[in-house]
Amino acid sequence: MLRLLSFALLLAIWWIAALFVGGAKLPSPPAVLNVIVADASSGALFLHLGATLARVALSFVLAMSLGSAIGYLMGRVKLADRLGDPWLILLLNLPALVVIVLAYIWAGLTEAAAITAIAINKLPTAIVTLREGTRALDRSLDEMATVFAMPRWRAFRHVVLPQLAPYIAASARSGLSLVWKIVLVAELLGRPNGVGFEIGVAFQLFDTPRLLAYSLTFAAVVLVIETALVQPFEARATRWRPRAA
C-alpha cells in the first residue's frame, strides 16, 4: 500500500513538472503511455525488449557460470589465485566502453561480439565475489565430509554450494544491475535492434516521449525480474538462517 502511494507521488511530481517544463523536454505521463501503447500494438516494443532480454540472459549466464568457476578455482588453489590476480585487476578496472568498442573492432558488429563484451564486463566482479565466498568456506565442514567419505559431488552440492549460495545471490544481484546498464551501451554502439538501439534513435531525433517510453518499460521489466526471480532465489538460499529481528 505504502509502495503504491509512493509510486503515485512520483507520478504526480512528474506530471506537475511536465506542465511547467513543457512537452518537448519532459512529456506528460499520458504522452509517454501513448507511445508505449502504439509500439506495443505494432509489436516493435516487444521485438526490441525481447532482443535486449535475450542478450542480457545470454551474457549474464555466460559471465556467471564462467566467473563462478574461475572464482571458485582461485579461492581453492593458491597458484590459480596468484596467476589470475593481475588479469583480474586489469579486467576490473577496464572501462566498459573500451571493452565494447574493442570487441566490435575485433569481432565486427556481431551478436557474438556484443554478448562477449557484456559478459567480460560482468566477469571480474563475479570472480571476486565467488573467490571471497570460497575463501570463507568452513574447513571444519570439509573435514566432516572427508571423514564421512562423502563422494565429491555430494559434498559439493550439500556442503560447499549452500555456503556459496549467498555469494552467488549477491553476485547475481549486482551482476544483473551491471548487465542491465551495459547492454544498452552495447546496443547503442553496434546493434540494429534492442532497447539501447531505440534509445539511440530517439536521441538522434530528440524524441523524448519515445526515449522515456522505452526506458520506463525496460525499467519495469527489470523490476519484475528482480522481484519475481532474484529475490525468491535469495530468500530460498538463506531460508535456514534464523530470521533477523
Binding site: E143, M144, T146, V147, H158, P162, R241, P242
Partner: protein, 236 residues
C-alpha cells in the same frame, strides 16, 4: 579388524616460524569390539592425534594402519552439522544407506524424533550433539571416534548420553576411540585407558579394565577408580 597407530613424531610450524613438537613417539593397537580411551591434559595433542588417525593430517612421521574399507563414524568436539540441512538430512547425507527402520530406532534412542525436520540452528547444544551422535552411528562404523562428545553438557544429560553411547557400542563390533577429560566417562565406557603426557604427547600409561562394561556396578566403578588413583600415584 584392527587399528594400528605408530607415530614417530609430529611437529607443527607456527606462523612466527618456530617449530613445535606436538606428538612424541607413541604406539597403540585397537581391535574390533574394544573401546580405547585417550585421557590427557588440555592442549596435549589429542585432537592432532585424532586428525592423523582419521587421515585429515598426513604430515607426520610414522604410520597409521586401518583397513581401507573401514567406515568411519566421527563425533567432533563441536557438532559440525550442516546448518542448511534438516536434522534428518544431516544424518542421511553422511549415511545414505541407512534404512528407515534403523534411522527411526536411532532417533528414538537419542530422543530426536520430534526434531527430524528442524534445522541445526534451532537446536540446543545438547540436541545438536545428539544429532552428531546419531550421524556417527547411522553409518554403522567400523571405527568410531568420539572427541569429547559429552563436554559442556550438564551431568544428567551427559550421563544419559553416556549410557546411550554404551548401548550403541555394545550393539555391534566396532573399534571405538574416545577422547575425554573425565575419568568417570573413561571407566564407564573404556576397555583400555591410555593416559597421555602434556605436549608433546606420549602414552604415559596403558591401563586395561578387565571387568566387562555391562558388569561394572557402581561399587565396581568406585574400586576401579581407586585403583586408577593408586596406579597414577605410583607412576609419579
Amino acid at each position: 579388524m584392527r587399528l594400528e597407530v605408530e607415530i614417530t613424531g609430529k611437529t607443527f610450524r607456527s606462523a612466527a616460524g618456530e617449530t613445535h613438537e606436538v606428538l612424541a613417539p607413541l604406539k597403540f593397537v585397537l581391535s574390533s569390539g574394544e573401546v580405547g580411551v585417550l585421557i590427557g591434559p588440555s592442549g596435549c595433542g589429542k585432537s592432532t592425534m585424532l586428525r592423523i588417525i582419521l587421515g585429515l593430517d598426513r604430515d607426520f612421521g610414522g604410520r597409521v594402519a586401518r583397513p581401507p574399507e573401514a567406515r568411519i563414524g566421527m563425533v567432533f568436539q563441536e557438532p559440525r552439522l550442516l546448518p542448511w540441512r534438516s536434522v534428518e538430512q544431516n544424518v542421511r547425507l553422511a549415511a545414505p544407506n541407512v534404512s528407515d527402520a534403523k534411522l527411526s530406532e536411532l532417533f528414538k534412542i537419542l530422543e530426536l524424533d520430534a526434531h527430524r525436520r528442524h534445522f541445526p540452528g534451532e537446536l540446543s547444544l545438547g540436541l545438536a550433539r545428539r544429532v552428531a551422535l546419531a550421524r556417527a552411528f547411522a553409518v554403522e562404523p567400523d571405527l568410531l571416534v568420539l572427541d569429547e562428545p559429552l563436554a559442556s553438557l550438564d551431568d544428567a544429560l551427559a550421563g544419559r548420553l553416556r549410557d546411550e553411547i554404551a548401548t550403541l557400542v555394545a550393539s555391534r563390533p566396532v573399534m571405538t576411540l574416545l577422547v575425554t577429560h573425565s575419568i568417570d566417562d573413561a571407566i564407564r565406557l573404556g576397555d583400555r585407558l591410555f593416559f597421555l603426557s602434556p605436549r608433546p604427547a606420549r602414552i604415559v600409561q596403558e591401563v586395561p579394565i578387565a571387568v566387562p562394561r555391562a558388569e561394572r556396578s557402581e561399587a565396581e566403578l568406585v574400586r576401579i577408580k581407586a585403583e586408577l588413583a593408586a596406579v597414577q600415584l605410583e607412576s609419579k
